[in-house]
């Protein structure tokens, strides 16, 4: 847990990946360009002394991931968000199955999300059910700009997508994370446009729609939709590292988000390995809103707000009992490995 002003902040990193962009796994130019694009983001928003080499960035493996997330207790729990990209990568870039190896080894530390692609039709529905049956997933990460043969993307408000959302609803998969981020492809069809979220969210009020990257560069469309649809949430991945090298901009974006959505519908995510929580969590929690923004927007980035955004809101969506987690972490394998058993408080017997 991050200690801030003498208080513990339980951190759920709601957006992490375990990817493989090794050259052997790349089967399409798009795969190489994709990881290069990620690496540009990584170097742009990472302090110089914390930047990775390209080689280690391509494929970092389970051990390093566990240490980067939990080694200094910056994150306490992490949520896997898969990104398949099977037209670019032989074995996929970051699939549920790949993530599951680690998630099943440390089930108390990871939440495993699945995915669906409406273009897969009946087989896709079967796959969604298989993920649900095998891993008991509570959420899916959707990548609407993913290439599939001739298709360069799909929309959440497509009729076919609605069939999948209905199935999610039937299966109790309540958390729908849609990647809505910087424009990278495809051509003029703007597959990261956030407007499709509007119709989906109002049609499925029982589901929660987490717009990852708060729609940047469509923060305006995102906030306007979220202001009207109370089941729309914002994932802070990409916005978060602004805290490090563009603090004024971070202050402004967070102020807007708090003004339009309030403090209950924002989720912290590092987007690991785009950025490492072991420095990013500190940057975000220690960030301050400028006097000017606090006055203009009438919002606060105070301890209560930080606790919600950094963990409590995600805990709410994923039914995570934070106090129970803390008890578990007094003696789980990761706490022992990183000498964190004291970190999570007194042994259970001495509690209360």
């Amino acid at each position: 847990m991050y200690q801030h002003d003498g208080e513990d902040v339980f951190v759920i990193d709601a957006h992490v990946h375990l990817w493989d962009a090794s050259e052997e796994n790349i089967t399409h130019d798009g795969g190489e360009q994709f990881i290069q694009c990620f690496y540009d983001y990584h170097t742009t928003f990472t302090p110089d002394d914390r930047q990775w080499d390209m080689d280690e960035y391509r494929k970092y493996g389970q051990e390093r991931m566990v240490e980067d997330l939990f080694g200094n207790a910056a994150a306490d729990v992490a949520i896997f968000q898969p990104t398949y990209l099977t037209d670019f990568y032989d074995e996929g870039f970051n699939t549920t199955e790949q993530n599951a190896e680690l998630a099943l080894e440390y089930p108390e530390r990871f939440v495993l999300n699945g995915t669906f692609d409406p273009r897969d039709g009946k087989e896709g529905l079967e796959y969604l059910e298989e993920l649900h049956d095998t891993y008991d997933i509570q959420g899916v990460k959707l990548y609407t700009a993913e290439w599939r043969d001739e298709s360069k993307g799909w929309r959440l408000d497509d009729e076919e997508a609605f069939r999948f959302l209905e199935r999610c609803s039937d299966l109790g998969i309540e958390n729908i994370h849609a990647h809505k981020g910087p424009t990278i492809r495809p051509l003029n069809r703007d597959a990261f446009d956030v407007k499709d979220v509007d119709d989906a969210a109002s049609s499925f009020p029982e589901l929660n729609f987490v717009v990852e990257h708060v729609g940047l560069p469509r923060l305006d469309d995102f906030c306007w939709i979220a202001a009207q649809e109370t089941n729309v949430y914002g994932g802070l991945a990409v916005a978060a590292p602004f805290a490090q090298n563009r603090p004024g901009k971070f202050s402004e974006i967070v102020s807007e988000l708090l003004w339009w959505l309030g403090e209950d519908r924002l989720l912290f995510g590092s987007d690991y390995a785009l950025w490492n929580p072991d420095w990013l969590v500190e940057e975000v929690i220690e960030a301050e809103l400028t006097e000017e923004h606090r006055a203009e927007y009438g919002v606060e980035w105070d301890l209560e707000t930080k606790k919600k955004v950094m963990g409590e809101n995600a805990a709410e969506l994923y039914d995570i009992d934070v106090e129970e987690k803390k008890r578990q972490f007094r003696e789980d394998e990761i706490s022992q490995q990183f000498d964190l058993t004291d970190h999570y408080g007194e042994p259970a017997a001495a509690d209360d």
């Binding site: 170097t43 492809r185 703007d190 560069p217 974006i253 807007e256």
Partner: protein, 264 residues
Amino acid sequence: MTDARDTDETIDRRADAPNRERVREALDDVTDPELDRSIVELEYVDAIEIDDERVTVAFTLPTAWCSPAFAWMMAVDARDGIEALPGVTETRVILRDHMHDEVINRGVNERLSFEETFPDADGGVDAVRAELDEKARIARQYDAVERLLEAGLEPAQIAALRVADVEPADETGDVAAVYLRDRALAVTVPMEPIESYLEKAEATGVVSTPDDALFRTPEGEPIDPESFDLVHRRGRLATVNMSGQGGICDGLREARQQRLAVDD
């Protein structure tokens, strides 16, 4: 690249021949459609070469993954802007280090349409361009309205303004007179933000006649004074979105230049 001395010689040779200054001015008017900022200001332009009546411009975007539609718009706008200069008979635009650079360069320089250039795309770029123009209009409205609020106008007065209520206050054109209360009263403010707003408002078609309401909701409707604050908030949000994305683009461009420098 041509340096300043060459430019002077060019001017000496023929008054209406293209020179670097005029080319740069033409490029000043070309904006990154997502950021509503000039590609010159954003430092995308790498080189301007002038060979008598032929002008070649090279530019690089922050990442190879920049939207091909946006790249296309900037390349076409640069081409058309330079071509409109007196004395230019041939224009060539070279987009560098983009995943579709060859395709885009061929399409733009051979004067193909976007659809011809990208047969697998779903149609043209007009809809995307219109949407981004509309966002630029909203952001520019915010800046203009801020000036009017600073000058002491009330929200209801601002919402009631018509296009004809704004006039140049003097012959310099730098100051605007904004008429209130059936022209009984005028307030002066800098012309630039209002002019800049009007340019986009006219381009997007939300205002066309002197009697039209000057400022609009993001949907293009006249503003109900009751919802003035919300509309103004949405304008603010549009500016935050653009400058936020600008921060990402700036950072990516710097990171990429460092990487390319290392690779070299």
